[in-house]
Symmetry: C2
Subunit: 259 residues, 2 copies
């Protein structure tokens, strides 16, 4: 993972989490996206460190820090962001969509610590918890089904922070076949089609000679539309050579090309 996606200054703070499996799932997602600092504020079950759902993230879970209050858990952070799925709280705090929130978090994260708070599965963050936040973020779920699973919400937030906007625009690493490769394919394909009888083989002085051109062009356009990579062009050439050879040599299986 590139340095820019390292989330070293981020603190994921789980407040009043009920199900230890969700703490484990959050830890796994954190490890997936390179965020290693988990803080837990009075979880319902203290045995969360053994959560089996933390597949591959046991060290992260073992080093999680426990706090008695949100206050202490965010004390060293310069930006504290609460998560919410509830619309009507929008009246009390500024709420930003995750896409925009991530931009602001990344900016602050470049120079100092940022905390993202996730509330309990049943009730989310309390108003008291929210009063420690600078603003809230909302994952853009449907109005009719806003509330996400906790582990999934953590995964989505961290993905948005780790995603690379440039990757979205980046061109496919596809070494396209050259025009010469395509023309070779086109020519052998036409030969194979003639040998197989799909296209009539034109006698050079036949009056039908001119009708071959549209077929040639139709085949050439087809070959171009395939958008072949240089590797696939080579593979296709090999296949066509074999087919052509077979069509011309009849059906004797003992005779092979290059034998």
């Amino acid at each position: 993972m590139s340095t820019r996606s390292q989330l070293d200054h981020l603190r994921v703070v789980l407040v009043n989490t009920r199900n230890p499996l969700n703490i484990g799932a959050a830890a796994r997602a954190m490890s997936n996206f390179g965020c290693f600092h988990l803080r837990v504020v009075h979880p319902y079950e203290l045995a969360f460190r053994e959560a089996r759902s933390a597949v591959g993230a046991s060290p992260l879970l073992a080093s999680a820090e426990e706090f008695q209050s949100v206050d202490e858990a965010v004390a060293d952070c310069t930006l504290v962001v609460g998560t919410t799925s509830v619309g009507h709280r929008e009246l009390q705090h500024p709420v930003k969509r995750l896409e925009q929130a991530a931009r602001l978090i990344r900016k602050r994260h470049a120079t100092s610590r940022v905390a993202i708070l996730f509330g309990s599965e049943k009730r989310g963050l309390s108003n008291e918890d929210l009063s420690h936040c600078h603003w809230l973020l909302r994952i853009p779920t449907r109005e009719e089904h806003r509330s996400m699973n906790l582990g999934q919400a953590v995964a989505v937030c961290l993905y948005e922070l780790a995603r690379d906007p440039k990757a979205a625009a980046s061109l496919e690493k596809h070494t396209a076949a050259t025009a010469a490769d395509l023309e070779r394919i086109n020519s052998i394909l036409l030969d194979a089609l003639r040998a197989s009888g799909y296209v009539k083989s034109p006698a050079s002085n036949s009056p039908k000679r001119r009708s071959a051109a549209p077929t040639d062009e139709k085949i050439r356009r087809l070959v171009h539309r395939l958008n072949l990579s240089s590797t696939d062009a080579e593979l296709t050439l090999g296949i066509l050579r074999q087919i052509l050879w077979k069509s011309r040599s009849g059906n004797d299986p003992a005779v092979r090309p290059h034998d």
Copy 2:
């Protein structure tokens, strides 16, 4: 949720899923992001429709379609995308990062059906499953911990498809206070600071008169840095008026402003 995020043409295909809780979790994430068509290819436990993890998504789970093969499950789709966390398969199929994959999926999804395949928790998609795919997508997890929880992977993919790139750039809906509001705050704050003795009240013909200016400016700069909204400016003015009144009227609690 806006029409553009509706994922009507998308089919989420879970292949050989072992844990019914993961099918339920996938269903919940689908419902969160407005994708309602789940397909299941021979799951290990047939009782997946009762999965309690599908919080709020029971109808979606009830209407899931079961198939005996990947072949049948993707037959009506024009684009079939496999998900992978394994790097070395990159040799056999083109692999795109989710950010880029989502762009291509959205484009095709505008006009016809697209399937995204998720493999089993233990082994992912088999090579046979992958051979039905046009290309693969990879969620950009850390090299050292690539493998995500299934429900979280579904949530992250659907979030990326539903996210609004424009929302990332959108300006905050923050009606900033006017310069006149700030100047009123500045002036009352200075009065309050003089009344409290924090700033010395200058006699108009005192030789120290000129030293007041730097303090005024310091306070004005502070007020500007607060980046107050017009609502917060009003609140702040009210607080300062009360403090100023208190400082001037002494400590008699029975006397209140506007009484």
